[in-house]
Amino acid sequence: MVINRIYLIDRSESEPMVSYLGRSALAAYITIADLIALFTTVFRGLIDTIVHGRRSVVQVCMRQVFFTGNEAFKVVFVISIAVGIAIISQMSNVTDAGRGSLIGKVFVWVVIREIAPLITALVVIARSGSAIAIELGQMKLKGEIEYLETLGIQGEQYLLMPRVLGVGVALFILNVYFNLIAVSSGLLVSWLGWQIPLSHIKQGIISVLTLRELLISSSKSLLFGFVIAALGCNAGLRVGDSITQIPQAGTKSVIHSLVIVFILDVLVSFTFIF
């Protein structure tokens, strides 16, 4: 009875579908417009930093690369070994350990092109995207962005540009590490566990590992990094006067990043296919 009542109340108070869709579309449009504006600011900030040699901005950027890249490395290390072993094990079973070159090809198509940029992005979304949103949200709430601007420092330039570039670079490096570790661990396990000659797998990898494949993987990781940081910044800077908006900003940054990263992954893959 109680459940029914709650269900009825919820139904009667829920907004019409058209209104819900319209509101969601508007929210998505605002987020995308904010992202474009943010990237424009980042680009202008980059030029200004280079022209004026702004050391403090470079410092923030390096710090961001360190925090995002170095501290996520342990997690990426473990996951990349596990992924390398899992893919090799599955492929070895499917091919009955007989076709080393096919295993190598699948490795490039699946791990290097798809899984590595996606998993490293997921790790960074969970660690750095939410952290950026919370940090900036707290700074905004405590008035620190205004303190920066009082010093004649353009808050957007000092806070956004180094974070967006820093996360992009860090994700690119993490992606390289992921690929190297996953391939190495996969090769080792296939050789030790299934006695597949390393030369066969190597041959398969080399035959399909072109500059194009590396470009797909690298451009995805860079793009994901820029977007994750930009969404984190955007969520953080939208915090108003209430402390409860800070954790909400963290959550929002994670959700938006997840959705957009998966959509971008498909778009980039399609762009390179056609």
Partner: protein, 215 residues
């Protein structure tokens, strides 16, 4: 010259109408702390008045674009009551942030100027702690040292002399007066909601936001 001409703004109960001549030291006594904050924000261009005009040396800050506003703010030193620091930067990084962002000085010059400035304000604590570990007095010392680095033409002291012991208050007042008297048409503006805290600064003018002016 700092001019508030029939200014109406959110957060201020009365109409603000006063002018402070270039090179003078003035105290503005507000009825509550939020009024001090609003006056500082109006001067820095974070707020535009609902009515009236605010100008500093003929410039209306709220009409400037982002770039010009940044340049304008570099000429104003603000000593906030809590120091006005970035909480995840240590004392040294906070102190030299403006210089290092500006990019016009070499690292060695920044170090030299930073150390000299700390010596002037008499700060003897660690340079590598976060601002949250500092006392109120130390925060204001560092904020003063940071402002000194840019040699501003207008200094705004926002409740800077409140909540301190007598000796700390007199130390900061002496520093403020010494900087003010170095000449060059420096203007000092002490915003406070406790008129007693202005005793040590020998203000040329004390304006009460309620309307009374003492010269």
């Amino acid at each position: 010259m700092v001019l508030f001409s029939e200014v109406v703004s959110d957060g201020v109960d009365s109409i603000l109408d006063f002018s402070i001549q270039k090179g003078s030291a003035a105290g503005i006594v507000t009825s509550r702390e939020v009024e001090s904050e609003v006056i500082a924000r109006l001067l820095l261009g974070f707020l535009a008045p609902l009515e009236g005009t605010v100008s500093v040396n003929g410039i209306q800050p709220y009409l400037l674009n982002d770039k010009d506003l940044s340049e304008f703010r570099k000429k104003i030193g603000v000593i906030y009551s809590d120091g006005g620091f970035i909480s995840n930067l240590n004392v040294w990084d906070n102190l030299t942030l403006q210089l290092s962002y500006d990019g016009s000085l070499k690292k060695a010059e920044i170090v030299e100027r930073g150390m000299k400035s700390l010596e002037t304000v008499g700060y003897k604590g660690s340079l590598y702690v976060l601002p949250s570990r500092l006392s109120i007095f130390e925060r204001r010392q560092i904020a003063f040292a940071r402002a000194l680095l840019m040699q501003p033409i207008l200094m705004i002291y926002q409740s800077t002399l409140e909540g301190l012991s007598r000796s700390e208050q007199s130390q900061l007042s002496s520093l403020a007066l010494a900087y003010h008297r170095q000449g060059g048409g420096r203007t000092s503006l002490f915003l406070t909601s406790y008129q007693d805290s202005l005793k040590g600064i020998q203000a040329d003018l004390i304006y009460n936001t309620g309307g009374a002016i003492q010269s």
